[in-house]
């Protein structure tokens, strides 16, 4: 399969997937359908966690577990980069 054929083939796949994706999304942009959990965060966020910044209330208060795992992801990435670029030891 020559290079151009491959590129054309990829472009066709991408266009087909793009149309499928865009046709399937029918969210009314601007007012999301169900915000019951989000509304709870907005109403009770300050009361439960004491933080004014609701995003920080979520990723440090309600879902602190995600943030813990995610700092470990960063730590593993840093150890990985150091491990690769340390050379022979």
């Amino acid at each position: 399969m020559s290079k151009e054929m491959k590129k054309v083939f990829f472009i066709i796949i991408i266009l087909v997937m793009a149309t499928l994706f865009i046709l399937s999304v029918d969210i009314e942009y601007g007012n999301p359908k169900n915000l019951d959990v989000a509304n709870y965060y907005i109403d009770k966020g300050l009361h439960d966690t004491g933080a004014i910044n609701l995003v920080a209330a979520i990723y440090l208060g309600y879902r602190a577990y995600d943030t813990l795992i995610e700092t470990i992801v960063l730590f593993v990435a840093v150890t990985g980069v150091v491990f690769y670029l340390r050379g022979k030891r």
Binding site: V73, V76, Y84
Partner: protein, 495 residues
């Protein structure tokens, strides 16, 4: 203290991983004790879970869909037993290698705790974060020897795995857009309502999640990365990869298909997903078997045989009856044990013979009869010969296929087992042929890895082979562990 057990099972290997980086001498003791603590914690819960109960734990004290919560039911209990059991054996197997430094044990502990994290979490986004942490640790473990070929294999896996997880994350975005929560049980409640209003979106989220997981499980069209990744990695890592990491993708697929899209309103999705699973299973089965025949490198042969066995598990899942699911989940356990033994033996064989080529192992039967015997027993298990456990699970899946009316599937499985027998006997008969000349083409770094204690390596292999035979002779034990998991997947079936 007892109520905190679910989170302590995940956090104890994690904490040990960081302590390993700080200490110099105690890295192995720390690793083993942390895994033993987790296994003891799980076994204290086993009585409750095997009786069908579910253990819930809310992190940070937030109930319901607010915070992240952990749930241990039959399915996650079963998978986490495999993860921690094989993980402990991998650490014991790689204990005496001088070239495995602190980073190796750090990455191994991180991957084990992230696998348990993926299994126990009840929150989709948390499942994605843990899966990403697992993949990052695996990219590094694959390229631990830092030779050129492992770097290339790790890079390919990084790119394809990254794309696969992005599909999974986009699927999560679709689900959140429709239902507004991230908790799997809550999404399952709200999805039928969303299905009536926006059916296309539900279908697209299903396709996204299944294709994302399909890439991580290396199903047929998306398997490009697996043979390089699993064969180039050091032997204990490829045992962990083939035995367990692939099963994590299967676990997520089971959770999504049977957890989210299980209600009546999704009958078209369920029936189509079962046929998709079966078709993918058959194609993966035949492709894996055919490619394995053509391999000369031992570890690539074992990697393709992993793809082959994933096909069988997919067929079992696709059948969907109670017998089929029991067979599939029991095959997950058996494949983890058998593939672990095969890769452990391969590690010793490669180190002894110096080459990875199948021809290089001639006469190995006389040099180390016990390891050769273990390899033979394990390959019998992989083919599915009666005394071993592989036979029981393959027989269950064939029986389920016949009962469900897909007799052609049972025939295909038998053909694939015949091909499996062909490529394993090719290796075994090399054991007993006399060595042509002392071929000492020392190509891979595993040579000087062997000086450590053969004692621990041999004992991990004997333990796995004993498990293989024991589950084969007394299968009722294995099936009793799998029973609560199946009863969760098919709730209306009385266990």
């Amino acid at each position: 203290m007892i109520i905190h057990i679910p989170v302590l099972i995940i956090i104890s290997p994690l904490l040990a991983a960081f302590l390993v980086l700080l200490t110099k001498k105690y890295k192995i003791i720390l690793a083993i004790t942390s895994l033993l603590i987790s296994i003891v914690f799980i076994s204290t819960l086993s009585s409750r879970i095997l009786s069908g109960d579910k253990v819930l734990y809310h992190l940070g004290g937030w109930q319901g869909p607010l915070g992240v919560s952990l749930v241990i039911d039959g399915l996650s209990f079963f998978f986490s037993l495999i993860v921690l059991g094989l993980g402990l054996l991998v650490i014991i197997y790689s204990m005496h290698e001088r070239c495995y430094g602190r980073t190796y044990y750090f990455l191994l502990l991180i991957s084990l705790s992230s696998m348990t994290g993926v299994i126990y979490t009840a929150d989709i986004f948390n499942m994605y974060v843990f899966y990403e942490l697992l993949s990052l640790a695996i990219y590094l473990l694959i390229a631990y020897p830092k030779t050129g070929v492992t770097l290339r294999a790790s890079f390919n896996y990084l790119i394809i795995g990254g794309v696969g997880l992005s599909f999974f994350l986009l699927g999560i975005g679709f689900l959140y857009a429709m239902t507004g929560t991230l908790e799997i049980s809550h999404i399952a409640e709200k999805l039928p309502i969303a299905f009536n209003s926006s059916t296309r979106m539900v279908l697209m989220s299903f396709v996204l999640i299944v294709s994302g997981m399909g890439i991580k499980i290396a199903v047929f069209p998306l398997h490009g990365w697996l043979p390089d990744a699993h064969s180039m990695a050091p032997s204990p890592v490829s045992a962990l990869l083939s035995g367990v990491t692939v099963k994590i993708g299967i676990y997520c697929l089971i959770r999504m298909i049977y957890g989210l899209f299980s209600t009546k309103t999704f009958s078209i999705i369920i029936s189509s997903s079962h046929t998709i699973l079966m078709v993918l299973g058959v194609v993966t089965l035949l492709f894996g078997a055919a490619m394995a025949l053509a391999q000369t490198d031992l570890k690539r042969l074992l990697a393709y045989s992993t793809i082959n066995q994933i096909g069988i598990i997919f067929i079992g899942l696709g059948i969907g009856t109670e017998m089929g699911l029991t067979g599939a989940l029991f095959h997950v356990l058996n494949h983890a044990i058998i593939k672990g033994t095969l890769f452990f033996c391969a590690g010793i064989m490669i180190a002894k013979a110096g080459t990875r080529d199948v021809q290089g192992f001639s006469g190995f039967g006389r040099q180390q009869p016990s390891i050769a015997f273990a390899f033979i027993i394990a390959s019998l298990g992989m083919i599915g010969i009666p005394p071993t456990n592989g036979f029981v699970s393959k027989w269950l899946i064939c029986l389920a296929a016949v009962e469900a009316g897909y007799t052609v599937l049972a025939v295909i499985i038998l053909i694939a087992s015949a091909i499996t027998a062909a490529y394993y006997f090719r290796v075994i008969q090399m054991f007993f042929s006399n060595p042509p000349k002392q071929s000492s083409t020392l190509i891979c770094k595993e040579k000087q890895m062997i000086h450590g204690g053969n004692f621990f390596k041999a004992w991990t292999i004997y333990l796995l082979v004993a498990g293989c035979l024991f589950l084969g002779i007394v299968p009722v034990l294995g099936i009793s562990i799998v029973k609560p998991a199946v009863s969760i997947l098919l709730p209306h079936v009385i266990p």
